[in-house]
């Protein structure tokens, strides 16, 4: 494949697609808006292709694991069984009820159980984060403690003033910080978008960007 086809055509596609998304947002040209909407709809079949690819990748990996009897192959066996079971029940219209029951009673419950671990993890993280060694961690810990007191139902009963302090922390200090980070991220995305549209950032083509440092 020529260098033009390999390197330039993808960049042209990215540039045109990028402009197709940006221009109709600001300028009222119905035909451009229609084309833009049509391009956005292309995401669905592309994602469907990727989903098949993901499914095949998972199957091959776990079939190999079961065949070689590598460590934890029993889990791979369960995974493949579940995979085939759901593939069958979702492909046949008459088995929708089985799918719904299996999903809600098994996967839904397991999902909730695993997700509930976050509460424990957050508490453990908070314990580590609240170790006050510097002025910054002192401020961080104090503001967290104040918000925690105000959010707990008993906190408001014991100290009604905590609600006002919490609201001020959340709507002034917290909001200012979040907006500052948000503006920085937005500007970063602008720069990243330009780099991509000009063909400097070639992540979409699976190319690694490190050139100079790799030769240091």
């Amino acid at each position: 494949m020529s260098n033009f086809a390999q390197r330039e055509i993808p960049v042209i596609i990215v540039l045109v697609t990028g402009l197709l998304m940006i221009v109709p947002f600001f300028i009222n040209i119905p035909i451009l808006a229609d084309v833009s909407a049509e391009v956005r709809r292309l995401i669905v079949p592309i994602a469907a292709f990727a989903l098949v690819l993901g499914g095949v990748d998972v199957s091959i990996r776990h079939i190999n694991k079961v065949r070689r009897k590598s460590s934890g192959y029993q889990f791979s066996f369960v995974l493949l069984g579940t995979y085939i079971f759901f593939l069958i029940v979702t492909s046949m219209p008459g088995l929708v009820d089985i799918y719904t029951t299996a999903y809600i009673t098994v996967i839904g419950r397991v999902n909730e159980t695993v997700f509930s671990l976050i509460a424990l993890f957050m508490a453990s993280m908070a314990y580590r984060a609240f170790k006050m060694r510097t002025i910054e961690t002192l401020l961080f810990g104090s503001s967290c403690l104040l918000v925690l007191i105000a959010n707990a139902p008993i906190g408001e009963v014991l100290w009604p003033g905590s609600v006002g302090i919490r609201d001020w922390i959340m709507s002034v200090l917290n909001m200012a910080g979040m907006r500052a980070v948000g503006i920085g991220v937005a500007l970063g995305i602008f720069a990243y978008g330009i780099r991509t549209m000009l063909g400097y950032e070639r992540i979409a083509l699976g190319e690694v960007v490190i050139r100079r440092k790799s030769r240091e």
Partner: protein, 259 residues
């Protein structure tokens, strides 16, 4: 029919100004102007140290750019996570480390495998196959999958850089309990406090988007970082001026932004 949408004219002008600054500086970078950054990112600088540590211990490095979709709201964050993972793959190939990458969105798999393949080829190791693992989408199953992988493979280093959601606390806490050295990165304002609380080194907010340019070392790309700083100065000036004018009862800037 109006050519411009009401309420988006000021947005468009600001868009043109911000991107104009980036384009002008990028053009200067292409023309040969050198852009030197005054500081580097501690999170990026820690990557060789982390890979070296894992190699010395003879244990793998676990990396995940997060469980979100490539084309979703956090798509750009995931892309930057993949860019940085390419850098990690290069260091792994150079130092002899083993990289395990966990993904939850199927569309990331071919992209990621291609990135690592090109990273290994760049380091003269075309035979190394990338170890990319796919887990079910959803924060709980993906988080559980990553924790399971780190535990069974005894990962020495955990890197969660990209567009993580509530899978972040699960993976980070799992890694902490396994005693793994952690580098975290997120531009998600809700996750930044968790990144700071959990990880030894961090890449937060706009640093995530500057990382790709910093890794390339290319002046045309570094120009984007400098341009972002100029744009930030412009926004700060606009905020200060707007606040002063509104306080003085002159809503000119406020009216302009409503255009």
């Amino acid at each position: 029919m109006a050519l411009f949408f009401d309420g988006r004219i000021a947005n468009m002008l600001l868009f043109i100004i911000f991107n104009g600054v980036i384009l002008i500086l990028t053009y200067q970078g292409i023309s040969g102007k050198k852009f030197e950054l005054k500081k580097t990112l501690a999170g990026l600088d820690a990557i060789p140290e982390a890979v070296g540590r894992a190699v010395e211990m003879g244990r793998p490095i676990h990396y995940t750019p997060g469980g979100n979709a490539l084309y979703g709201v956090r798509g750009t964050h995931i892309q930057m996570g993949l860019v940085i993972s390419g850098h990690v793959a290069q260091y792994c190939a150079r130092l002899g480390g083993r990289l395990i990458v966990s993904l939850a969105a199927p569309e990331q798999i071919p992209l990621a495998e291609e990135i690592y393949r090109s990273a290994y080829i760049a380091e003269g190791q075309p035979d190394v196959q990338p170890d990319v693992r796919f887990y079910a989408k959803g924060d709980a199953p993906f988080g559980a999958g990553c924790i399971g992988t780190m535990a069974t493979e005894k990962a020495a280093v955990s890197m969660i850089i990209g567009g993580s959601g509530s899978d972040f606390p699960m993976i980070a806490e799992g890694a902490y309990r396994l005693g793994a050295f952690q580098i975290g990165g997120s531009a998600n304002v809700w996750m930044i406090p968790l990144v700071i609380a959990c990880c030894e080194y961090t890449i937060i907010g706009e640093e995530l988007f500057a990382a790709g340019a910093m890794l390339s070392g290319d002046d045309a790309q570094l120009a984007g970082i400098v341009a972002s700083d100029y744009n930030k100065l412009f926004i700060v000036a606009l905020i200060l001026l707007g606040s002063l004018l509104v306080t003085a009862g002159i809503p000119t800037i406020l009216d302009f932004l409503k255009l």
